[in-house]
């Protein structure tokens, strides 16, 4: 064993509801190094970090801290041991001061046993930490008046106040400007000098050159390899991140003749995306690629009328719209299979049968009166057609597996005879078998002359299915590829 290895991950694995998310991960983090972990969306990076920091429990394997095996019981325990994590979404209380946030739950008291807080000491200690980080702010400032970069610094200060030896940062630069990133890297270098190890999750390969000592690449829940940063090139890394065979599970016969335009958006803008224009035609599967946070979900929700957009127009089936709501879009036979299956895609506390017909109530029951027979027949039809595995259509959707739940969502829109279906991460968290079935469904749809617009972080999926792929980055479309031009490397390069 290297005696300067501060954290060792041995053969760690984890699965959620039967889906294997991490398998046999082996990693070593040395003292005072910046160890970057890269991988596509869904590769398992966040899960691994959450296991190390105490948010999740691992299923198998060992963690060794400073050479000794440790049992992770709680987040607090890990913090006190010296391992802290800064999540992508900060856990700060906006209406409390910097000092109050840093010392949340462990405020220093004036006298032992009497719970009166020593505010001066709290502020003084905070000032020290802020000073170390080069942040010239009064610790009595409310966090809500700080910018994102500064708030991130507060999270760093929090971790430092625990005298952390290992600091995990999850996508720290996702929302920072170039200047702020430079400042962050300065701090990271400072921490390195103090002997603190940093585990850094990121997509942004150009940045890694500046800061990384070691790079570990995850793919589909397994460790592909660990490189010394000096030897790593962007190409090498991308190849490792992405290198699977594109199997023919997509069964796609690409569209040779495109039908009429069903959707066109012109310079659509909202606070999360700017000047987006794209089109979708009958017979096409169009994909939107990009990193998490690029604004894809917000875009698709705006197109569907679930969220507002500020400017631009949406042209559906030839008609222009400056404002949309879901009643309008569904009437126009557009459907949305959202990213958040359980909270938005389907009503989990309702039976399968009711969910399937929910978007077709006025079509199936013309006089507004429900008819059990019609409902049963319709539901059974789609259960059969989509291969939904259940012994009864009266079962509440929450008892179904992820894949089957997703099929119920799709069934709902098929039942409504949609001409255009929008998908947001259609196969996330779904087993391979169900995935293939969903691809078949999409194929069948567009063969019938309907259209599909899908967001996906699974690049092989995009490449295997889509006639055209748009790439989004920071709220804008950076590129459009036809399926013959697109490669995984190109897609990734445009999203970063």
């Amino acid at each position: 064993m290297h005696d300067d290895v501060i954290l060792e991950i041995r053969n760690v694995s984890k699965s959620f509801s039967g889906v294997q998310v991490l398998s046999g991960i082996n990693m070593r983090v040395r003292k005072g190094e910046v160890h970057v972990v890269v991988g596509e969306n869904g590769a398992g990076k966040s899960t691994l970090m959450k296991i190390i920091s105490g948010v999740y429990q691992k299923d198998g394997g060992e963690l060794l801290f400073e050479g000794k095996p440790i049992e992770v019981k709680s987040i607090r325990q890990m913090q006190e041991m010296g391992i802290s994590i800064i999540h992508q979404e900060f856990n700060l209380l906006p209406n409390r001061t910097i000092a109050q946030n840093i010392f949340l739950g462990r405020e220093p008291v004036k006298k032992r046993g009497i719970p009166v807080i020593d505010i001066e000491e709290m502020n003084a200690k905070s000032r020290e930490l802020l000073g170390f980080l080069g942040l010239n702010v009064d610790p009595r400032t409310r966090v809500s008046s700080l910018g994102i970069a500064q708030q991130q610094m507060i999270e760093v200060a929090k971790a430092l106040s625990f005298k952390s030896k290992v600091l995990i940062m999850d996508e720290p630069t996702a929302t920072l400007t170039r200047n702020e990133i430079s400042k962050l890297f300065e701090i990271i270098r400072k921490l390195k000098n103090e002997g603190v190890s940093i585990i850094y999750i990121s997509h942004r390969l150009e940045e890694l050159k500046e800061i990384a000592d070691t790079i570990s690449v995850l793919r589909d829940g397994a460790l592909v390899g660990t490189l010394d940063a000096k030897e790593a090139t962007t190409d090498k890394i991308i190849k490792m991140m992405v290198g699977r065979e594109i199997t023919n599970q997509y069964h796609r016969e690409f569209c040779t003749e495109v039908g009429e335009e069903v959707l066109r958006i012109d310079n659509l803008s909202s606070y999360r995306f700017k000047n987006v224009s794209l089109k979708v035609h009958r017979g096409e599967i169009v994909g939107i690629s990009g990193l998490v946070g690029a604004g894809r979900t917000e875009l698709i929700k705006a197109i569907f009328g679930f969220d507002r957009f500020e400017s631009g127009e949406v042209v559906l089936f030839g008609k222009k719209y400056r404002r949309l709501n879901t009643s309008m879009t569904t009437r126009l036979k557009v459907g949305l299979v959202p990213e958040d299956r359980k909270d938005e895609g389907v009503i989990v506390e309702m039976p399968i049968r009711e969910n399937i017909v929910h978007a077709s109530l006025s079509q199936l029951f013309k006089n507004g009166i429900l008819n059990k027979k019609t409902e049963t027949e319709t539901a059974n039809k789609y259960v059969k057609e989509l291969g939904i595995v259940t012994n009864s259509i009266d079962k509440h959707v929450m008892y179904l597996s992820g894949g089957n739940q997703q099929k119920v969502v799709v069934a709902k829109w098929l039942c409504a005879q949609c001409d255009l279906i929008l998908f947001d991460e259609p196969t996330r968290g779904i087993d391979v078998g169900a995935r293939e079935e969903i691809y078949e469904i999409m194929n069948a749809l567009v063969k019938q002359g309907k259209a599909v617009l899908m967001i996906s972080s699974d690049m092989p999926e995009l490449l295997g299915l889509c006639d055209r792929i748009y790439v989004m980055k920071d709220g804008r479309i950076t590129q459009e590829f036809s399926h013959s031009e697109a490669t995984q490397e190109k897609l990734l390069a445009c999203s970063i």
């Binding site: 679930f306 879901t326 009643s327 879009t329 569904t330 909270d343 938005e344 009503i347 506390e349 009711e354």
Partner: protein, 320 residues
């Protein structure tokens, strides 16, 4: 949990009701007459405004204004009825009830006020209007044309045992709502809004409209209840209905409708109402002072809420 205790938990309300009715009947002078009276003179009136509350709760909300709306609408209506304009008076009352309900619905769906705030505030506002603008005087001495609505009966077995008009009205309203909630697409969507409003909206349903309609119905029902009370008491007073909100919540929860929405329904509320009225009756028959009513109602709500939580836990356990 064993099958038996599971069954008991499920049917607990009916068992509770039967126990209460039996207790009341044992100690009453004339059990059958007692049952008739309780149902005709108390349950029927209460059911009407409780149904409104149930609808609001089904959407995940609450309507605390039922009491003052009942008072206000019936009072305004009464000012016309007393002059002999019976039908116009009734129509005006119903319009006012529906109107206030609609405002509640809009405040909740469009302005996005929490239902508690919107309806509680409305309750105070309307109550203030009644007491102040109408100078709080009682109106009484209606014509038989009006009072017979409540005092009349469809079938009379004896002078005290009859199927009264209000009973029929309440029954019709109940059946209409039952049909609406269970058998129509509108009713289906009401439940969906209560279970998950976002998912329902994604499915293309106009959730704002559904919420507004529900609160309008609630206001309308409050007005009906107010009118019926005014007719049977032969008096419209501005202080009517101060307890309706509380009783309606109690009856709805006790009947098994979840406060979070989406579960239960008008059928449950009938049981809840019967439990409440017979509980009051049993207390009276046992010689317990009527002053205990409020305290008992409070305990009953707590008990019902705890049982509902226990039931939820059991369901969750069964999943594992």
């Amino acid at each position: 949990m064993s099958k038996v205790s599971g069954f008991i938990l499920k049917q607990s309300k009916i068992i509770l009701l039967v126990v209460i009715v039996v207790v009341a009947s044992i100690f009453a002078n004339n059990p059958i007459e007692n049952i008739f009276t309780v149902i005709m003179s108390q349950a029927t009136f209460m059911l009407i405004y409780c149904l409104g509350m149930t609808l609001a709760i089904l959407t995940g909300g609450l309507d605390l204004s039922v009491g003052s709306v009942a008072a206000f609408s019936s009072y305004i209506g009464a000012t016309l009825i007393i002059e002999g304009y019976v039908v116009p008076g009734i129509i005006v009352a119903l319009a006012i009830g529906a109107g206030i309900g609609a405002i509640n619905g809009l405040l909740i769906s469009k302005v996005k006020l929490s239902p508690f705030i919107a309806t509680y505030g409305m309750d105070w506002l309307v109550r203030g209007l009644v007491l102040f603008i109408l100078a709080g005087k009682k109106i009484f001495g209606f014509s038989p044309a009006f009072t017979s609505i409540s005092k009349g009966a469809v079938v009379e077995f004896t002078s005290t045992m009859k199927i009264s008009n209000p009973f029929v009205i309440a029954l019709v309203i109940f059946l209409v709502l039952l049909f609406l909630m269970r058998k129509t697409t509108f009713g289906r969507n009401v439940y969906c809004v209560g279970l998950n409003a976002s998912a329902t909206r994604i499915t293309g349903v106009n959730t704002d409209r559904i919420i507004t309609i529900i609160y309008t119905i609630s206001g309308l029902l409050a007005a009906i209840a107010g009118l019926l009370y005014a007719a049977v008491l032969d008096c419209a007073e501005p202080n009517m209905g101060t307890h309706y909100g509380l009783m309606a919540i109690a009856a709805t929860l006790v009947g098994g409708t979840a406060i979070t929405g989406g579960k239960g329904g008008v059928g449950n509320t009938i049981i809840g109402v019967l439990i409440m009225v017979f509980l009051t009756n049993a207390l009276a028959v046992l010689g317990v002072s009527h002053l205990w009513q409020e305290a008992v109602f409070g305990l009953v709500i707590i008990f019902a809420a705890l049982m509902e939580k226990a039931r939820q836990k059991q369901i969750a356990l069964l999943q594992m």
